[in-house]
Symmetry: none
Subunit: 218 residues, 2 copies
DNA sequence: ACATATTGTTCTAATTTAGTTCTGCTATTA
DNA sequence: TAATAGCAGAACTAAATTAGAACAATATGT
């Protein structure tokens, strides 16, 4: 099967051919995908040809043909399955409540398997999840308050702009928005009173991505 | 027969390819099935390839393809699903999701009994509850954001400082902090851009008190 | 046919991401 | 106790991605 870039390019090629009737040039593709050089497009196309998703004539301009597309499940089937599973999956499930997050201790170290937090099962499908109690006000501008419970999806990777549990120097866990900047990582608090931290990527481990939030008013 | 981990991994790979069109990386797989190291994934994949459930291109990243799926689930997985069905009957309760709150319409008028919102049973004992989707930013300074779901306990009274669903002139329902001032009532938004409204108590009916809040980040 | 513009190919090299291998720990079982 | 399976963690190897430039083949207009 395909890598994400290969998939993106294949979709673009297919869409363009469908819409315009002719195949995009390498330069158009590199712009569409967001590359600065078309050599990368060449490599992606070679891979797609090798995997039999594309066919082409060598040295012929705009001669690509889409052989097949990765078959996504038709949405009607997805809907059907969702409905059928709904009854089963709407149940509550308990996930571990690991304690408070703000600063100081890696999460594994304070893991206490006894405490649990109940969430609807459908919200924690497709991954491993845990809950944390928020301590402090470093994220108030995104509506994450002291005392809130956040549900975190375990992951060692994240996208730019995600709110993550980041472990710094194997010793300090914090909840912050993350952005990559070359070989550095920015940990961005959402409160004007706090400052963004810029750290080499090697000092920061991602322990999970914010998935949902729960707050009680009693 | 497959081991539980093998079964889970195979299902995850199949689901991911069907949904996204591209193959997950070892790191994504380890997060999804709850391993901390990808060496375990390697072993599982080797086993699945050997048993002809998976196929891959040698020396290519993200090249897995699902050959077939097992007919039988490992018994431990069956057990787990049974347990979950049981949990469905025990722990969960659904409350009506009445629609959006911001302004304009009394809640009863837009009540749609079809939509439900699942919450842990313990959190909605001792009263009648319903859920609303927040629309607008008039409460952002208390961490209540556009799109959040709030759980409201039905009540016609409230304490000073409570956040309530208030019905003004039988026509307009809003979520605001409430304060009594003699024969008047203050409806206080929590956003500097909005102004507090002061109304005679006779024009304001309380429809419920904010009990908890839920937010999803996906 | 000629000149010129487009388009596709190749190469080098740096960086990031992904896959493989190995070592050792732990719990289980014979 | 020894054997084994499963997994964590690190070290290592390999592939994918990206950029830049040079170049080759093709297409186009005159």
């Amino acid at each position: 099967m395909l890598t994400p870039k290969q998939y993106k390019l294949l979709q673009y090629i297919n869409k363009t051919i469908k819409e315009t009737g002719c195949c995009p040039s390498f330069d158009e593709m590199k712009d569409a995908i967001g590359l600065k050089s078309k050599s990368g497009i060449h490599a992606l196309i070679e891979a797609l040809v090798e995997r039999n998703f594309l066919r082409k004539l060598p040295h012929k301009a705009r001669s690509l043909e889409v052989v097949r597309l990765p078959k996504l499940k038709p949405s009607s089937i997805v809907e059907e399955e969702k409905k059928r599973e709904q009854a089963l999956l709407d149940a509550m499930i308990e996930i571990p409540l690991y304690g408070k997050i703000a600063a100081g201790t890696p999460i594994e170290a304070i893991a206490n398997e006894n405490e649990k937090f109940a969430v609807p099962y459908e919200t924690v499908r497709g991954g491993q999840f845990y809950a944390l109690t928020v301590e402090g006000d470093s994220m108030v501008d995104m509506g994450i308050l002291n005392g809130d419970t956040v549900v975190i999806k375990k992951s060692s990777t994240a996208n730019n702009g995600d709110i993550v549990v980041a472990l710094v120097d194997d010793s300090e866990a914090t909840l912050k928005q993350i952005k990559k900047e070359g070989s550095n990582v920015l940990l961005i608090p959402k409160n004007a009173a706090y400052e963004t931290r810029k750290l080499p990527a090697s000092r920061v481990k991602i322990q999970g991505v914010l998935s949902s939030l729960y707050r009680s008013y009693f």
